[in-house]
Every structure is written in structure tokens, then in C-alpha cells.
Subunit: 450 residues, 2 copies
């Protein structure tokens, strides 16, 4: 029985070069999270199915990967009348769909031990049975930082500064952090006299980037808004200028809504409290809506540099009462997320991965025969002591075979030491990039700079 | 609908303290793999079901977690006559059961691009539907390094040196690396004239540690060996002394078996070629058998220090023709594995985790009011620039509340800066461990050593 091997649709193998580059991104984010006092959390890949169902909407439920129970499933299967029932009867567990629900579940289960506010970060894969397509996978990493149990806007500032540090460290010039506040959108719904249509308005506005203002107006009409209401929404969407100019125009437009004014106040606080701490000032974007309905305060989205065709590379916001789902009401949360796959593509396209992110073995000792390789081995161990990743070719072989291996692996230095070199107490170091070859004394190797 | 949250049996949440300690273990292993020229690989959590089935024996097949297909499973379910058939009909994919089969699958799929020998490491979770019990989980990490495409015994030496470095770095005094060679066991089967009973002999010997010599003898009898054959096996199992003494006794006992002598030669090479490179010399243990049948050369097992009650904390060996399963015959492999969960328990019991592995936020700035906290914020950012993980308490609050937070989080330093301190250009640093409080000039903070 011979199987031609393959992997499931929408999944990926990551070879050495890609893993190292991904690690560079993860490491930059992790280091920043830690510097800002966030703490790591890891939850199981599997959750109980009922922990997940009903949390991601009807569409989301369909995209949850369920895990077949072991044991007698045949008997149970007989009670099912359709595919949905069958899934529930045969599966107790499912794969994590995002990191937010497991986080909420964890907070509720550990509420007595946690020091609040609890600032946690989590970098783990999630699984979704989405139709695979370019840039959309069935297994992908999420990278989240959230603060739960604090209403302070200082958290919003800190999270924005995390974005600021990470994208600065990654050298991604030209990225933009756009912020808005759900209370501003609520205020808009209030001043046009349609507070109950907030969700409809949000959904329509959320499509502005994709479909343009004219189609948004059509959609608003279909969702039951009058021409004059739509005119007000349009003037809202056209608010423009510097952050200060926008805040001023918003103040005029929303002056009749206490909620709207609160939203403006919150945004102002976030923008004005520590402006000097930002290397890239966040941009107030009143058209930013973000789909997920549970946001209640600031919302944020990070856009890749305009030269790269790419959607959002990060996003988040403040949500109230997430843990209420699991029986612990009244805890406010605010969080951000990094889109690692997209960040990877942006760094690749702009050639921003540093050489160190691609560094593997630095030195290859050639293996010419058993005798000289024994001497080489001692030096090999010395280089490793110095923290220099090194190898000795696995067996005596012709020079060109070993040269080929070094090239294929991208090893920048090879060390050649034949019988005659050993007798002279010398060795040759060849730089594989420049082709330059130098002879040095054996003792010099311990301080040689590779 | 209120759910009392829980997690599936046999899975675990890892809170901040545990994640950091685990990261310390992973980091020590990863750094060593890299120093030795091994390259990272990551494969998907899901494999096609037929990539996995039949690879782990009949028992193993039952322990594979299958993933329910999405779509119309009800129709398909009607054709099943029992649970096993149902599983195959409803599931195309399954969760990774180990890292070796995905590695073999990857090598075959990428054989044209890989530089051979391919030295890869992989640190990822695997899933098994085992009955959960103390120390046995349904989701756990494996941590493997393998070399494929080289018969050189230099690889065996390198892998043993990886163990040597990792356990030395972890400070685990008293651990033992035990080695043997399957060819020696084959030789034994040959000299007693029962080469076809090699597997039976191996299985019986493998139980020696658990059931003792008398019961092993009974088992050998049940497996069809005669009294005189069992006497020879017993004298083999009683081989004792230094490595050199054991090698000598083996030489006498196995002198009639070419295979056995080859095994002795291989072990000798591994022990004699670079003895000075080892901080802890591997111990030849002729009773080491290791259950898995696919080993063909050296086998190795790492034992925790005798003071800790714990089985093996690592193991591996050489196997031939692993990729043959996927249509690429003739590639030899050799690999080792680290048992991270058990290593964790050993380090915990022996209190070997260094303080740095438990370090999170170093400094908490107290938040006394909006005005002083604005000043604190600037200094907070300066400390972060210096790489010191720091926080500002999220809102103005009473001193004792903030003190309590610092304590609960285990933050070693707090900085207190009231109106009067600011006017003087001073601030107070309190060491939370000693209780000592010192006043320093604001400027001194940039060089203050925490």
C-alpha cells in the first residue's frame, strides 16, 4: 500500500527558512508584550464543544472543526436525523476557533487566583473550516493581547503603544494605526434619531472601504434609513482633516448626543494624554466600524503601508462583559490582535526581514578524513561554546560535495583543515559569499569573528 | 443559557508562571538544536487520516483523534455498519499523533529541495486519545531532533552531545544517558540460535526495569525459549562493570555473531571517538531495549536523577527506511526526543528553575493621580527602552491596593512618586522583597540597576 503523501487543504508545512522568519515576528511581538507587563497564557487546542457553540454567530458555528469522540459512536449515530444533529451526537470536543473565548473561559475558571486587571497575551494556532483561498488558511496563528477588569483608558494607550513599538521594530515604515470609538457611532445613530438601527448603520459603514460611498448609501436605504438621515450619515463619513479638525467637526455634529460626546472625550484622552510616546501618531478615522458587534468603546485597525496591497494587519477594541457568557458579568476588556500571516507577507514584499532572522548554521567544518576530523571536532565544540552554530560534515567526502552542501544550506563560512594544515597548526577559512579564503593559526579561531 | 466552564479531560491551561518555565525549557533545547546545525520544521496539526493510519500499530490507530468533516455527513453515515467504518466515512483528517510520521511525510514531499543529510528539529503538540492519568495527557508537546539521509555514526555522537548540553544547561546533576545497540540484541538472538525470536526477546527484556529478572525469564519461557537459551540471556543481562568491561564481556559472549560484533563496534565508536566532549559520559546498558520495533542501530534513553521518581525523560535511536512508508526507500535516520512535561516536573521537584525563568514585570509605577502619573509615564517608557518590563498601575488608587497588586503579581520593585517628590525631582524605589525603600534623583532612574 503506497500513499502519495499530501497535506489537508488550507494547511501548510513551514520549512526552516519560513519558521525562522515567523519566529522573528513572534519574538518581536512577544518581547513587546512582556516589556509592557503582559503575561503569557496557553489554552488547550481542544475546547468542549459547548464552550464554543453560539459564540461566533450562526456562520461561525458551521466553521468550527469538531473532533470525533472515541468509543461507540455507531450506536449514538442512529439517533441523528441530519448532519447538524449527527455532529452534536458524535463530538464532545472541538478545535479552538479564536483566542478570545478560551481567554474568557480561563478568566472565569480562575477568577479567584487572578490579580486584576489581568493583562494576558496568547500566541497560538486556531482552526476554521473556511473555504481555503489565497491568504486564507484553515490553520493559522492568532497573536492577542487583552486587558480584562479595568475601565481605564490608559489600557487603550498602552495597547496602541504596543502596536507602535512592534511595527517600528519591524521597520515597517508607512503603516497606519486608525482608531475610532463605538460611542461615536452610537452618537451618530442617536442624532439622526435611529438609535435602534446602530447595528445596521455599523454594518453598512463597515463596507465603505470595499464598496464605496454610493453603495453604502443604497444599503442604508435598504436598511430603512430615510434620505435626510442618510445625508447626515454622509456628512459624518466625509469628516476630514487633522485629528484635531476631525474632533472639532465631530463635536459639532454630535453635540446633542451624550454618548457621542463621551466617545469624543475618550478618543481625545487617548490622543492627547501621551502624544510624545508615539513614533507614529494614531489617525482618527470616523469611518472605521469593525464588524464584530461586541465592541463598545475604542476600536482600532492597523493598515499595511499603502505600497503593499493588503488589508488590515491588526485590529482590536474595547468590549464589555465578555466573561458574562460564562457567568462572570461586569468585567470590561480591551484587546488587540496581530495578523501574523499578513505581517509576514508585508515584510517579505518590502524585504524587511533582517539577515539575523535568516541565520542558521554559520560555520561548516569540512570532513576530509577520520584523523583531521577528530581535530576539527574539538574546534567545532569551541565555536559552539562561543554561541556560533556550527557543523562538521557528517562523513569524509570530496571537497566539492561538501562545498555543495554548504551552498545549498546557505552556510556563510567553511573551514578546511587538511593533514598539512594541521601539521603547520593552521586552518583555512573560506567566506562563501565573497569567495575569499584566508589562512589563520588554529588558536586564532577562538576569537575569529564570523 | 449559562455554562459552567471546564476544559476537556486530559488537557491543560498553562497560566503565566508555567508558560514562562516551559519556555525556558523549550528555549534551552531550541538554542542547543540550533548550535548543532539543526533546522526548525513545523507541520500542520492536521494530517490526512490515511497518512497516519497503520503507522502506530492497531492500538495506536484507536488513539488517533479524528476530525469530523464539514458538510453533508448524515448521508455518508448511513453506509456505516460499525464505529470504525463510521469514523473512516466521516473523517478525512486527524490530529498529529507524533512528529516522526509528519517529518517522514515532509521529507518525501520535499525530497528534491532538501540538502541531505537533513537535520531537522520540531517542537509542537501532539494529540492522543489515551486514558488521562497523572502525567499522561491527551495534548502534549514533543521535542524531536532527527538526521535523515546519513549512515555516519557522527550523528549519534552529535545527538548524544545535544542531550549532554541541554541537561548540563538545565543544571540537572545526576541524570544518566544510557545507550545500547539493536545489533547487540540481534547478536544475542543469533548466538542462542533464535534469530527469529528477536522481537520476543526485545519485548521481554524491555520489561526488565518494571517486572524484574525472574518475571522476564517466565515471559521468555512463555515466548518459546528453552532453559539453556534463557540462561545465556540471563548471563547477557548480568553483564556489568565500566563501559570498557561491558564491551569486553559482550565481545566474548557475541563472538560468533557478525551482527553482534558490528553492534559492539558501533557502540565503541560512539564512546571512543570524542570522549572528552562529554560532560557526562553515556553509560552502556545492555538491558536497554526500547519498545518501538523500528530501531535498527543505537538506542538511547535518558533517566532523571535517581533522587526523583520519574521514568525516562528522553529517548531515541537509529531507524532504517522510515520514509519508505511514503515511497522513498533507503534513507536511514537517527533521532532523539525530549520529554518536556517530565523534564518540567524534575526541574520543579529539584527546584532548578532559575529566577530568570520566572521573571515577569520588574517595575510597577504607582498611579497616585493624573498629574503625577503623566510624569511617571515618561519614565515608564524610558525603562522599557532599556529592556526592563514595566507597568504603570492602570488607574489612580490607594497605595495599599497598588501594593497588593504588586505582591500578587510578584513584581520586585515599585516606584512611588507623589506631588512633593516631583517638585524635588526625586522618586522612591521600594524593593518588595527586602522591604527597603530608597529615594533617588529622577535622572538616576535611567541607570538604576533593578
Amino acid at each position: 500500500m503506497m500513499i502519495k503523501p499530501s497535506i489537508p487543504k488550507g494547511t501548510r508545512d513551514f520549512g526552516p527558512v519560513v519558521v525562522r522568519k515567523r519566529q522573528y515576528i513572534f519574538q518581536t511581538i512577544r518581547e513587546t508584550f512582556e516589556l509592557f507587563g503582559f503575561q503569557p497564557l496557553e489554552t488547550p487546542s481542544m475546547e468542549n464543544l459547548d464552550t464554543l457553540t453560539g459564540k461566533y454567530g450562526e456562520e461561525g458555528d458551521k466553521l468550527i472543526f469538531k473532533i470525533l469522540d472515541n468509543g461507540d459512536i455507531f450506536g449514538r449515530s442512529q439517533q441523528a436525523k441530519d448532519s447538524r444533529e449527527l455532529g452534536i451526537l458524535l463530538c464532545e470536543k472541538a478545535l479552538r476557533y479564536d483566542l478570545t473565548i478560551p481567554f474568557a473561559r480561563y478568566v472565569v475558571m480562575n477568577q479567584n487566583e487572578l490579580a486584576l486587571p489581568f493583562k494576558r497575551y496568547q500566541m497560538q494556532p486556531v482552526w476554521r473550516a473556511d473555504k481555503p483561498q489565497k491568504g486564507r488558511y484553515r490553520e493559522f496563528y492568532q497573536c492577542d493581547a487583552d486587558v480584562v477588569g479595568s475601565n481605564s483608558l490608559l489600557n487603550e494607550i498602552e495597547l496602541l503603544l504596543i502596536y507602535d513599538r512592534v511595527f517600528t521594530k519591524l521597520g515597517m515604515n508607512g503603516y497606519e494605526v486608525r482608531i475610532n470609538n463605538r460611542k461615536i457611532l452610537s452618537g451618530l445613530a442617536e442624532v439622526i434619531g435611529q438609535p435602534s438601527l446602530l447595528t445596521d448603520i455599523t454594518i453598512a459603514i463597515d463596507k465603505l472601504d470595499k464598496i464605496g460611498i454610493e453603495k453604502v448609501k443604497v444599503e442604508l436605504q435598504e436598511r430603512g434609513l430615510s434620505d435626510s438621515e442618510i445625508t447626515t450619515i454622509e456628512s459624518f463619513l466625509k469628516i476630514d482633516g487633522s485629528n484635531e479638525e476631525k474632533l472639532q467637526q465631530l463635536g459639532v455634529l454630535l453635540q446633542q448626543s451624550a454618548t457621542g460626546l463621551k466617545g469624543i472625550e475618550e478618543i481625545s484622552y487617548v490622543l492627547h494624554t501621551q502624544p510624545a510616546a508615539f513614533k507614529t501618531t494614531p489617525i482618527l478615522d470616523v469611518t472605521l466600524a469593525r464588524g464584530l458587534n461586541y465592541y463598545t468603546g475604542m476600536i482600532v485597525e492597523v493598515k499595511a503601508p499603502a505600497t503593499v496591497k493588503m488589508g488590515s494587519i491588526g485590529g482590536g477594541g474595547r468590549y464589555d462583559d465578555l466573561t458574562g457568557l460564562f457567568g462572570l458579568p461586569g468585567l470590561s476588556g480591551v484587546g488587540i490582535s496581530f495578523g501574523v500571516d499578513r505581517i509576514y507577507d508585508v515584510l517579505e514584499e518590502l524585504q524587511l526581514f533582517p539577515a539575523t532572522a535568516q541565520q542558521s548554521t554559520q560555520v561548516l567544518f569540512f570532513n576530509l578524513d577520520a584523523n583531521t576530523s577528530a581535530t576539527a571536532f574539538t574546534m567545532l565544540m569551541q565555536l559552539r561554546e562561543r554561541g556560533i552554530a556550527s557543523e562538521l560534515f557528517h562523513e569524509p567526502a570530496k571537497m566539492d560535495k561538501q562545498m555543495k552542501y554548504a551552498n545549498k544550506r546557505g552556510i556563510p563560512y567553511v573551514i578546511i583543515m587538511g593533514e598539512s594544515e594541521i601539521q603547520e597548526g593552521m586552518l583555512s577559512v573560506k567566506n562563501m559569499i565573497t569567495g575569499e579564503q584566508t589562512k589563520i593559526k588554529k588558536e586564532e579561531l577562538t576569537t575569529y569573528s564570523f
